[in-house]
């Protein structure tokens, strides 16, 4: 049986894969993180045996494959008037309780086949960047710096300057009509003028002169690549800012076989069976690895490239279930 772990809000990658599981009549069930606290179903987790009993049925024996799709999110428990610092404390403590429970559950299910493994879902950008470098992939020079002098020195070392982006992730901040967000930002005079001599440690990366960007969905040795080609001569540093521009064109793309082999080796080395990989093809023909997101969105490249990635994922889950599970289709 295939277990789908996700959350109850709209998640664009989940339902299209379930469409295909339904089409193939694959045995699956879905648990959203909210289900754990919804108090609608009886369940228990035997910590010693590692079994999970839901409505009297032991699912720990039934589950073979886990489609792990953005399961964890912070839950809000408070209703009515907020209590300031007190509610903030309750919020963190309640989420910590749940997080520890979930971690123990994942540990009990560690022998199942995960897509992808839960420990790798929140990849650490600096760690992945270092791993890519060690694996021999070309990647932009990266530094975490907390002072302007050090930043200026680093910028001098980079022939085309540098950019800054968050070390982890900065999300959307919505205030009614307007929503604020961040992108990779070129470190130019405007940016430098806004920085004090010392600041919160920030990630800086060498700017690479891109001919175009290549977005790759990786699935256990298979590559589904799409090139994002900008016809705008003043292209933006962060491609996300150009997604809705007419000047950005998408094309299906074949990576060179040696590049695929290198990326495949890297993904296996870091323990990822899947991921959305961002590459830059430079004007002098080299491929730079930027980052990998183990739970990246695949709807757009699937659609643009005609790859039917959702179907491929469903087929992968079914194949693993049939190879290792008791309930086959």
């Amino acid at each position: 049986m295939i277990l789908v772990l996700t959350h109850s809000y709209f998640e664009q990658g989940t339902d299209p894969v379930i469409d295909w599981l339904l089409y193939y009549k694959a045995p699956f069930f879905r648990i959203c993180v909210e289900d754990l606290v919804a108090q609608k179903v009886n369940y228990s987790f035997d910590i010693d045996k590692g079994s999970v009993i839901i409505n009297g049925v032991d699912y720990s024996q039934k589950v073979t494959v886990i489609f792990f799709r953005r399961f964890y999110r912070y839950l809000y428990y408070e209703e009515g008037e907020p209590l300031g610092d007190v509610s903030r404390k309750v919020f963190y403590e309640a989420n910590n309780e749940l997080e520890h429970f979930v971690e123990a559950l994942f540990d009990a299910f560690k022998d199942k086949i995960w897509f992808p493994v839960s420990e790798m879902v929140n990849v650490n950008k600096p760690k992945i960047s270092a791993a890519a470098h060690r694996a021999g992939l070309l990647s932009p020079r990266s530094r975490v710096i907390n002072n302007k002098t050090g930043l200026l020195e680093f910028k001098e070392e980079c022939p085309h300057g540098c950019i800054t982006k968050s070390i982890c992730r900065i999300s959307y901040y919505t205030f009614g009509k307007y929503t604020y967000s961040t992108y990779a930002t070129s470190v130019d005079d405007d940016v430098l003028a806004m920085l004090p001599e010392r600041f919160f440690p920030a990630l800086f990366q060498e700017k690479v002169m891109a001919d175009y960007e290549v977005r790759v969905f990786y699935l256990d040795g298979e590559f589904f690549a799409t090139a994002a080609i900008s016809t705008d001569k003043d292209r933006l540093v962060d491609i996300k800012q150009s997604f809705y521009k007419e000047s950005l064109k998408w094309a299906t793309y074949q990576l060179p076989k040696d590049m695929e082999a290198q990326l495949d080796k890297f993904m296996r080395w870091i323990g990822l069976v899947t991921g959305s990989i961002d590459l830059i093809k430079t004007v002098d023909g080299q491929y730079y690895f930027l980052e990998v997101n183990p739970v990246g969105q695949y709807s757009a490249p699937s659609w643009q490239g005609g790859y039917q990635i959702e179907r491929r994922i469903a087929e992968w889950l079914i194949q693993k279930n049939n190879m290792h599970g008791k309930e086959k289709i």
């Binding site: 339902d15 469409d19 959203c32 967000s181 940016v191 179907r311």
Partner: protein
Amino acid sequence: MEKKKFDTPFARKLLERVPINYRFMYANITEHIGELRMREKFSRSDKHRAEQYLNYPLAKPVSNFIIRKDNDK
């Protein structure tokens, strides 16, 4: 051309103590941000066990049809 005018909703005092990226934010009209799905209406689907099911395709597996030229006739 790259927008140079950053816009942050946060106070200067806070910005001095948090990651620098909060200084370099862009303001966009909330409804125009596709990822926030503000304009979309959701349904539910028991088959998918989904409380927020999108009724139109983003990238649904809608076809395996091969359209040939003679189909147009």
